[in-house]
């Protein structure tokens, strides 16, 4: 299959769609944690399949310790999403999420609580973002259950997830910060070649709709 090329205008339309999707995700999360979520301008990159893991790694400040929620989404817009958080942020997120600044640090339960909190945050962010993008492009998506990984960023793990989503065409990334807390995370969406082909048609329809 020939590689899909996007015009500057198509990429701009995709980026704007992502911007709206990430905005929806921030609003959903902000409602849960009762705190403003600061969004960065999203970034889109076309990356060769073999280079996806190194691309993700290059975008992370500390790839040695991270927590990751991975979730597949299925539809004409399909692929895999990764929410990456530095491992040290887990406890802060639990405090934000549970609204309990004095959270007991002792005991094994915290690990489990961190894991569940991060999965839930991933679920909220990914669902709101991917769902909004699908809605704007007149698609509907379903989701597989989110999965949690922690430890050093493993290229093989990323490669395996990307391959199982059907190759690679586009990577979307944004960084979000929580107001008044030194907590940040990164969200990546990776689409396969078949989805990229559909995305191109969908954004062309969107652009044509604007022009008329």
């Amino acid at each position: 299959m020939p590689s899909i090329e996007f015009t500057e205008l198509e990429l701009d339309a995709l980026k704007e769609t992502m911007n709206i999707g990430f905005g929806q995700a921030a609003a959903a999360l902000s409602e849960v944690i009762d705190m403003q979520v600061i969004l960065n301008v999203p970034k889109i990159a076309k990356v060769a399949p073999a280079e996806i893991a190194s691309f993700v790694r290059s975008e992370i400040e500390n790839p040695d310790g991270f927590s990751m929620v991975e979730q597949f989404f299925l539809g004409r817009f399909n692929g895999t999403s990764f929410l990456l958080l530095p491992e040290s942020e887990g406890e802060k997120l639990v405090k934000l999420f549970t609204d309990d600044p004095e959270l007991d640090r002792s005991g094994l339960a915290l690990d489990s609580l961190e894991r569940e909190t991060i999965i839930e945050i991933g679920n909220i962010i990914i669902g709101a973002c991917v769902g909004k993008i699908a809605e704007m492009l007149k698609d509907i998506v379903t989701y597989q259950p989110p999965r949690f990984f922690a430890g050093p960023l493993d290229d093989a793990l990323i490669d395996r997830q990307v391959r199982s989503s059907g190759g690679l065409a586009l990577v979307f990334k944004t960084v979000f910060h929580f107001e008044a807390e030194d907590v940040y995370g990164l969200l990546f969406l990776v689409t396969g070649e078949d989805s990229a082909s559909w995305l191109k048609k969908a954004v062309d329809e969107m652009i044509n709709g604007i022009a008329t």
């Binding site: 500057e8 205008l9 701009d12 339309a13 980026k15 704007e16 911007n19 709206i20 999707g21 990430f22 905005g23 929806q24 921030a26 609003a27 902000s30 409602e31 705190m35 403003q36 979520v37 969004l39 960065n40 301008v41 704007m136 107001e179 969107m206 652009i207 604007i210 022009a211 008329t212």
Partner: protein
Amino acid sequence: MVGNVIIVDDSLVARLALKGILKDTGLSLSEANSGESALTLLAQGARPVLLFLDLTMPGMGGIETLRAITTSNPALPVVVVTADIQARTVDMVKELGAAAVVRKPADKAEILAAVERILGKNGA
């Protein structure tokens, strides 16, 4: 309606969408692809009757741009058009002096209602 409107957004598609919505209003439309460019236009003497402003932009963000505009051009109505629909963000831009906040993707009826309300009020 008469007068000039400046549309500030880093996304060409977003600017095109607003231009499409406003094309039959009689207003003349100018564009800026960043907060910095918008401030330059104003500093060079542009006298718009209304300005549309995105929030999530590279470089000078929309909040910072809004703050600068409300300081340098306090009489200029600014309509914030944003994907950032968090209640706190909406409250913040209203406190900073935004005349209206409209969520992206821009809805034609909502945009036109905001324009009519604001320009009617300002006698443009």
